[in-house]
């Protein structure tokens, strides 16, 4: 009988009440007394030297209150890189300054080099146009192609970086010789060149920021679209503006999607604060969609050569990869971690392969900065692995299901240390594969294929068995690896006098159902109704310091902090109950919302205990403080390792190249599941984005660095009829061994595992149709690309 409340129930989302009826409150919805409007002046060339900016005419235009250029911020801190990576030779990565407003040079189309603040939005736009006309920018040749960027020392994105290289990273460098040797001696080596296509995050809500300054107190307030208000506060206050954190409050209200793009600090946030201080009025900015396309951190953009060395029977001997990873014009906060420690460390997959070596060169180009986007490095790793395994199977005539099975880490091998430095705690990859084969009716494929053929369509199926590392992250480990931040999280559980609960969390929901699921967990542990638990997030003046929501960490890390705080509440409750029930603490049990003396019917309800804590008349005041509020900070012992198996079936129309997804089946291991409906929704969304990457989305800059796909006329987003009804299962779960909830996180899995399943299915369809000359098609596998591949 499925549960109807608490942990494991598909409780309906309380957030939907406001989100589906237009009652949500997003940053742009705020209307503040005296607010002024900021508009940014952005470069329309990809690379240029700023010769002069004459602000006179713009400053004199109607309604204009202030004009800013890069000159105004040249002594202010740059936007810092959050993770230090060392190159193979031990030298630290290059960290060029990323200023609030571009100064000296503009380095990508959309790079803001000035800003106008005016009474109305239209006035600010008019003045911004004037300012653009009065700016003299000498256009320089654009650096767009990564290979050329590294080879041509005469053309530099940053003048001090001759080869446009941020770093040249090897992992694990000490193993390289051994891996090279293993490949040299291997009976079979498969090679594949592939592109992991650049994506624009396209959150439905564009970025927006409102800065306020209060001259009476010297306090600042930033309302902004952030996935992590405390991290934003730390970066803006301590690193950029140079103000004490306790003088800045950051509030992220409802946030309409992020997918990573709203983790980072952006210059617009600093600008509105500086402008608010100068004018002593609120200053606001909301991106137009074209600004979002040009300046929200893009995702992916790897060019990879991968080699798989194996025995003739398909037993893996080694994986070796070389990747050029685009970071764009400037380092975003986690640009350096995404292609390294979130990518290279996953290159063993769920397999017991003994040799793995990863080389990543990150390259500056005159394009938008690139950083984490749903999956952040793990989709790149999974795509490379699952594509090359598929290619190897075709070369050797081996069954892709059997090859996975033969190479999986088995259940008796956990905890399993991979050759790329991770320790998988637990999993059962065979079980999810078996479940997948059953659910997807692999046995019935041939019949479906024949039916498709009768309609003139080629049908194929594509497998992807994936693993990822999330629940980010153990602070000491990531510190050793170069992280400049800790990755713990925090929760304060405040029981109110009448027994209802406020939970202040460092997580910040931008679509993840936190208000519902966290309430389920707290209510379940305390034996109280879900409706008596309120989740508070997004306001640094209310919540303890947490690192926010990304990397599928909200449940595993923020949720564990919450669970530990609840444990402290229960522990204190037992002390109170012992006093009230005149028993010893050791005899008190807590179950179903009641504190009881074991073996008797003497009990107090949670509500009675709560009231007593706040009206401490019958209370052990000599030994116990009043109140019932506890905080816990939790630093995870390890990453978590969700894993799963996906099968995609496609129909290909060989005359037009159109690919239709006939079915998509997911068998996932997320550890314990808190709310099945929410987990399914997460997988649906993730797979939808993966299908988008595989078949539709592409971010194209021309050789002048102009973004050709800067609107939905050319950037193809997945729509409802591009995706099938998914079959999603998470019954084969192995609870995480190192957090008390036993959870692994599920937010990114769909986007990680799905792209190779789709591409493998297309190649399979073509091969079954006799078109075996097609060994690979790069994403997006558009109709035009399929047809061109077929027709050489």
């Amino acid at each position: 009988m499925p549960k109807d409340h608490g942990i494991g129930a598909s409780s309906k989302r309380r957030e939907d009440i406001r989100f589906l009826s237009g009652l949500g409150h997003y940053t742009d919805d705020s209307a503040l007394q005296g607010q002024a409007f900021a508009v940014f002046v952005r470069s329309n060339v990809a690379h240029g030297r700023i010769r002069s900016i004459d602000t006179t005419a713009a400053a004199a235009m109607p309604g204009v209150l202030a004009v800013f250029t890069g000159e105004d911020f040249k002594d202010v801190g740059g936007n810092p890189a959050g993770w230090l990576i060392n190159s193979r030779d031990g030298t630290p990565m290059r960290e060029p300054k990323r200023p609030v407003l571009a100064h000296g040079k503009v380095r990508h189309v959309g790079d803001a080099y000035a800003a106008v603040v005016a009474e109305t939005y239209a006035q600010a736009k008019d003045a911004a146009e004037q300012l653009a006309a009065d700016s003299d920018i000498e256009e320089l040749p654009a650096i767009v192609d990564m290979a050329k960027a590294v080879a041509d020392a005469s053309n530099r994105v940053h003048d001090e970086i001759p080869d446009n290289l941020c770093f040249d990273w090897g992992w694990i460098e000490d193993n390289r010789a051994k891996v090279d040797e293993a490949i040299r001696n291997a009976p079979h080596v498969t090679t594949l060149h592939l592109v992991n296509n650049r994506l624009v995050p396209n959150a439905m809500e564009p970025r927006a920021s409102i800065g306020e300054y209060f001259p009476g107190t010297g306090d600042y307030k930033l309302t902004t679209t952030s996935q992590n208000p405390h991290l934003t506060r730390l970066l803006v206050a301590a690193f950029v503006m140079g103000i004490p954190e306790n003088k800045l409050t950051v509030v992220a209200p409802d946030v309409g999607g992020g997918f990573g793009s709203k983790i980072y600090h952006y210059g617009e946030e600093a600008l509105v604060l500086a402008a608010a201080k100068k004018l002593a009025r609120p200053v606001r900015w909301t991106a137009e969609r074209s600004e979002s396309f040009l300046t929200d951190a893009h995702g992916r953009d790897h060019v990879t050569k991968i080699e798989l060395a194996c025995e003739k029977d398909g037993t893996f001997i080694a994986f070796r990869t070389e990747t050029l990873a685009n970071v764009g014009a400037y380092l975003s906060n986690f640009s350096t971690a995404t292609p390294t420690f979130l990518h290279g460390t996953l290159m063993a997959g769920p397999y017991k392969v003994p040799n793995v070596y990863v080389n990543v060169k990150t390259v500056f180009t005159n394009t938008a900065p690139v950083d984490a986007y749903r999956g952040a490095g793990r989709p790149e790793a999974t795509y490379s692995l699952e594509r090359i395994i598929d290619k190897m199977c075709r070369e050797l005539g081996l069954d892709p299901f059997e090859v996975r099975r033969k190479n999986f880490v088995t259940t008796d091998m956990f905890p399993y240390t991979t050759p790329v430095g991770l320790i998988y705690d637990t999993g059962n990859y065979q079980a999810t594969l078996d479940k997948l084969i059953d659910l997807a009716d692999v046995a019935g494929f041939e019949k479906r294929r024949a039916a498709s053929a009768a309609k003139g369509k080629l049908r194929g199926m594509g497998l992807s068995t994936w693993i990822e590392a999330c629940g980010i992250a153990p602070s000491r480990l990531v510190g050793i690896l170069g992280s400049r931040v800790g990755l713990y999280d925090a929760a304060t559980v405040r029981v109110n006098a009448t027994g209802n609960i406020s939970v202040m969390t460092g997580a910040h929901s931008h679509g993840q159902s936190h208000e519902t699921v966290f309430a389920q967990i707290v209510a379940d542990k305390l034996g109280i109704p879900e409706s008596s638990v309120e989740i508070v997030h997004g306001d640094t003046s209310k919540i303890p310091f947490g690192m926010g929501s990304y990397g599928s960490r909200s449940l595993a890390v923020c949720g564990t902090a919450m669970a530990k705080a609840v444990d402290k509440i229960i522990a204190k409750g037992k002390k109170i109950a012992a006093h009230m029930l005149e028993a010893s603490e050791g005899d008190i049990t807590f179950e179903d919302g009641k504190f009881s003396v074991a073996g008797t019917d003497k009990a107090k309800t949670f509500g009675e205990i709560a009231f007593s804590a706040y009206v401490p008349h019958n209370y052990p005041l000599e030994t116990l403080e009043p109140g019932l509020e506890e905080t816990a900070f939790y630093d995870p012992a390890n990453f978590t390792y969700p894993a799963g198996a996906y099968l995609c079936e496609v129909e290909v129309d060989p005359e037009t190249g159109k690919v239709d997804i006939a079915s998509f089946t997911c068998a996932d291991d997320f550890g314990n599941v808190m709310n099945p409906m929410v987990v399914e929704g997460q997988v649906h969304g993730g797979v939808g984005q993966g299908i988008g990457q595989a078949l539709l989305e592409n971010t194209v800059y021309n050789e002048d660095g102009q973004l050709l796909t800067a609107s939905y006329m050319d950037y193809a987003m997945p729509r409802a009829d591009d995706v099938p009804f998914y079959t999603v299962d998470h019954s084969c779960n192995t609870p995480c061994t190192h957090n008390p909830l036993g959870v692994k996180g599920c937010g990114e899995a769909g986007a990680i595992g799905s792209p190779p399943a789709v591409v493998n299915a297309v190649i399979d369809a073509l091969h079954r149709g006799g078109l075996t000359h097609v060994t690979h098609i790069d994403m997006p596998v558009s109709p035009s690309r399929v047809w061109s591949a077929i027709n050489g």
């Binding site: 005359e655 037009t656 190249g657 109709p783």
Partner: protein
């Protein structure tokens, strides 16, 4: 947007007069013009709405065929043309999405003549007559290239009159992002021959594939297209398709349109 004045005449005569003013621009459904204004790519002083003109709205059967008022939204054509000219109705029903179809009009579409729009294929494929507030223009004379038509400054498309064919079909292959026609082929069989109009494919905009017309006039079957092809050199090359791919689609979609026409 930049500031503009807005007038909404209720007759063609009033609209003609309003459009004679300096900086006046006609707006019908606004499905192209409104985004253009929002991006500040145009700065008309006055917008003259054509959507309040009753004599420019509606679908009716007359001599000369099916008459569609220039300011008739696609959704109305999709519903009301179905009985007499199903292929035209289906084309209208495949433009954009429901919101677009409730506003976009045939007059606006063909006055703009986007090289990937659907209506030009129907107008050219039917040998329709474009009726303006000044004259009547045959379809073969109306489309003059990318975004260009025979219309003069201030001339309004008040009506399009479609001769009704014996059989017809429109097959469109969506550009995956915009869902405009990457290539779209309209085939119509009349007593005096077959017309094949192609949109989305050519650098010159909508065109008639005369070789296919001749072959289909002799033998109206998909097989008639087998040995034929269009020259890839004339085809559009962009992010979504190479010239060779478009040339291929012209052929494939023509065959599918013939099969769909019955």
């Amino acid at each position: 947007m930049y500031n503009f004045d807005f007038v909404k005449p209720s007759t063609i005569a009033e609209a003609t007069a309003a459009l004679a003013a300096e900086g006046a621009q006609a707006i019908s459904g606004g499905q192209t013009l409104t985004p253009t204004l929002k991006q500040r790519l145009a700065q008309p002083a006055v917008l003259v709405s054509l959507t309040g003109i009753a004599e420019m709205k509606g679908v009716c059967l007359g001599d000369g065929g099916l008459s569609v008022g220039g300011a008739t939204p696609h959704a109305v054509v999709a519903a009301e043309a179905a009985k007499h000219y199903p292929a035209l109705a289906a084309l209208a029903g495949g433009i954009g999405d429901p919101a677009v179809r409730n506003r976009g009009t045939i007059g606006g579409s063909i006055a703009n003549n986007d090289p990937a729009a659907c209506y030009p294929a129907a107008v050219l494929g039917s040998g329709a007559t474009v009726i303006t507030n000044r004259r009547r223009i045959a379809a073969d004379d109306y489309f003059t290239g990318l975004f260009s038509t025979a219309l003069d400054e201030g001339e309004i498309v008040t009506e399009v009159r479609f001769p009704i064919p014996q059989k017809a079909a429109y097959v469109k292959f969506n550009q995956p992002a915009s869902r405009f026609a990457l290539t779209g082929v309209f085939v119509a069989k009349y007593a005096d021959g077959v017309r094949v109009a192609v949109t989305g494919a050519s650098n010159g905009g909508v065109f008639r594939w005369s070789e296919a017309e001749a072959a289909l006039s002799r033998n109206f079957s998909p097989a008639a297209i087998d040995g034929l092809s269009v020259d890839a050199a004339d085809m559009i090359h962009d992010l979504h398709g190479t010239p060779a791919y478009r040339a291929n689609l012209v052929k494939v979609l023509t065959k599918r349109a013939v099969a769909a026409a019955g």
